[in-house]
């Protein structure tokens, strides 16, 4: 069945804008999806990345949260109780309490600190500007380019927005073939056909997923573009009114000059109140603002991680202990609940671990669609109507693109290794771990520029990533003593599954390298026979490194 095609002028306009917008964002979009796919498991990775967190699960209702505040303020000078501070209660994935606080100097510069605290002994396990392990967080921050100062998040927002544009134009471009190409996923025939068929049929399958991410990603990155004009046009420039509409708890105003509070309700009372009222929903964060002042509040965020509307926020006045603002889970108005739904759609926190795995697979398919798009772009331009100079340019762009994106796999394995091998008790160990990751990624990318054949490039990265990946469970075993079989026997499934996943990835990667990618491709052999003597002559003229491929195929 074929749908009615667009008129030639419209089709070509859509085709061209799809190509241009797609090529421009492709690098960045791949990084967003690849790093983001791993970041879905940020919580689940925690026990693996921080061996101190490999303790038995502690019931969060038994923890004395006010004691935690006391212990922290006794041990640090850079903690201002009037600024927002808070902590995450122990969970199955992360049994430690993580504490976030900040301070402000005379020039209004904020300084942040984070501490991890043992939920039974209340011993401070680590304290500093950053948590002592930052591995999954680095990957998470990479997916919205947090490492680029100031503009990173907006850049990622624009990438998401142009992704939405590319989805629209892509659907319109392939409109005619969208039904019949859906069944045409092939691995035989010409490369151009393989890339195109995969691009269209997989693109169709992942279309809803991609629209979700394009819209929520644009929202998370570019909300300022919506909020600022609305504040100006509807509320005479008062931004807090707009913020209040989206997040009622963020609209509460605090007075720096408010009276000092001597007696008030405490964290434990509020925690008990919320957790008895909502036993199905875990408390994910408990925090306070203006804690020592009469207008101070204690807020609680809850989530059941199961329902699309399973999250909620309750903010209590510290002085009287009465509820000031509350968004209940499940039963709430559209206006109060829709933002939470958008966030949950983005973070995949509404269907348990299996939903996250589905999200992960869909994200990987999206990565394939992005790569295949670039490959279509290059294969379609690998024709005699283009000059050598143009073809060399197309080849260089493609090679650079493949080097950046495919080297993320070994770089990812590298950060897992670096996190294990940089000693846990080092002061400021986050920096060397991140440095190893980013410089490793850079080195891998540069190496790729010397491999002229895409097949070789792909195989080498797969090989490097698989070997490094196989070292990960070994490194974990040597450093922490939690070998695969031991973590399985002790039922520490979070640690076990990370090691097991890397073991499987490593083995599968090596098998693919050995059985599939090491042979010469059938298509390449056939092509060589076809082009014959002329190309033999050209390729024997020792072309410049970048030219090799295009010269051979001439």
């Amino acid at each position: 069945m074929k749908l009615k095609a667009l008129k030639p002028r419209l089709h070509n306009a859509m085709f061209h804008t799809h190509t241009v917008s797609g090529i421009v964002i492709s690098f960045a979009l791949f990084v967003c999806f690849y790093a983001g796919a791993v970041a879905l498991f940020m919580d689940e990775l925690y026990q693996w990345e921080n061996p101190q967190a490999r303790i038995d699960y502690v019931d969060p209702t038994t923890v004395d949260y006010d004691k935690v505040i006391k212990v922290v303020s006794e041990n640090t000078t850079v903690f201002n109780k009037d600024l927002t501070f808070g902590m995450t209660p122990p969970t199955k994935a992360n049994p430690l309490i993580t504490y976030y606080g900040r301070d402000k100097d005379e020039q209004n510069n904020f300084s942040f600190f984070a501490a991890t605290i043992h939920p039974i002994t209340y011993e401070i396990l680590s304290m500093g500007e950053e948590p002592n392990t930052h591995m999954a967080r680095t990957i998470y921050e990479l997916h919205y380019f947090h490492q680029i100062p100031v503009v990173g998040i907006y850049l990622s927002g624009f990438v998401a927005f142009f992704f939405l544009f590319a989805i629209f134009t892509g659907v319109l471009t392939h409109w005619k073939n969208i039904v019949n190409k859906f069944y045409a996923f092939t691995t035989e025939g010409k490369w151009k056909q393989i890339w195109t068929n995969g691009h269209i049929s997989l693109g169709m399958i992942t279309l809803p997923f991609q629209i979700i991410y394009a819209v929520t990603g644009a929202l998370l990155g570019l909300s300022i573009l919506l909020l600022a004009p609305s504040a100006f046009l509807m509320y005479n420039g008062d931004t807090s009114e707009v913020v209040k509409a989206v997040r009622p708890d963020a609209g509460i105003k605090y007075d720096d000059e408010a009276l000092t509070l001597t007696e008030g309700t405490n964290f434990n009372t509020i925690y008990q109140k919320v957790s008895t009222e909502y036993p199905e929903n875990d408390v994910t964060y408990i925090y306070a603002t203006n804690y020592t002042k009469s207008d101070g509040t204690i807020g609680v965020r809850v989530d059941d991680y199961e329902g699309i509307a399973g999250d909620g926020i309750f903010v209590y006045g510290r002085e009287d202990g009465k509820l000031k603002v509350g968004i209940q889970p499940e039963v709430r108005s559209y206006a109060n609940g829709a933002y939470g739904v958008l966030i949950k759609l983005h973070y995949a926190t509404y269907g348990g671990i299996f939903l996250k795995i589905i999200y992960f697979i869909l994200a990987m398919i999206t990565c394939y669609i992005i790569i295949s798009g670039v490959m279509i772009w290059r294969t379609a331009r690998d024709k005699p109507i283009y000059t050598d100079k143009q073809r060399r340019f197309h080849h260089r762009v493609t090679k650079f693109y493949l080097a950046i994106t495919l080297s993320m796999f070994p770089a990812l394995a590298l950060i897992f290794l670096a996190n294990m091998l940089v000693p846990m008790d080092w002061e400021g160990r986050v920096f060397p771990v991140n440095a190893i990751f980013f410089s490793g990624w850079l080195v891998f990318t540069l190496m790729g520029l010397f491999w002229n054949n895409y097949r070789q490039l792909n195989r080498n990265y797969l090989l490097m990533g698989s070997v490094l990946g196989l070292l990960i469970p070994i490194a974990n075993g040597f450093v922490t003593g939690d070998w695969l079989w031991q973590s399985l026997m002790h039922k520490s499934y979070f640690v076990f599954s990370v090691d097991a996943a890397w073991l499987i990835i490593g083995i599968v990667g090596l098998l693919v390298c050995g059985y599939s990618l090491n042979r010469k491709s059938k298509k390449d052999i056939m092509q060589k026979v076809k082009v014959g003597a002329e190309s033999e002559r050209i390729s024997s003229e020792a072309p410049a490194p970048v030219l090799q491929i295009s010269a051979k195929e001439k």
């Binding site: 929202l219 573009l225 206006a335 958008l342």
Partner: protein, 93 residues
């Protein structure tokens, strides 16, 4: 096969369409949603709806700009719509 050049517009037209889609489309989106908001008493639901409809609408208007034949006309249309919505906001102030 890359897009056929004979169907693509000249550089000056292209600049007009890109700016119309990016800037004009953004203005139309923002003023449309705020014009709706200015008539409503309860604005909360609209603001949260804006969070996702505006990006869809903006991207749609960008597509429309590229589908149009004449960049001047699409700029004119988007400016006109912006002014109409701005008028609605002004009247409801």
């Amino acid at each position: 096969m890359p897009a056929n050049k004979k169907h693509l517009s000249s550089p000056s037209q292209r600049i007009l369409k890109i700016t119309a889609g990016l800037l004009g489309g953004f203005f139309v989106t923002i003023f449309f949603h705020n014009a709706l908001g200015s008539v409503l008493e309860q604005k909360g639901a609209l603001i949260i709806t804006t969070a996702y409809t505006s990006f869809l609408m903006w991207a749609g208007l960008m597509v429309l700009a590229f589908l149009s034949k004449n960049g001047w006309k699409i700029w004119g249309l988007y400016l006109l719509l912006t002014l109409v919505f701005a008028g609605i906001i002004f009247l409801n102030k």
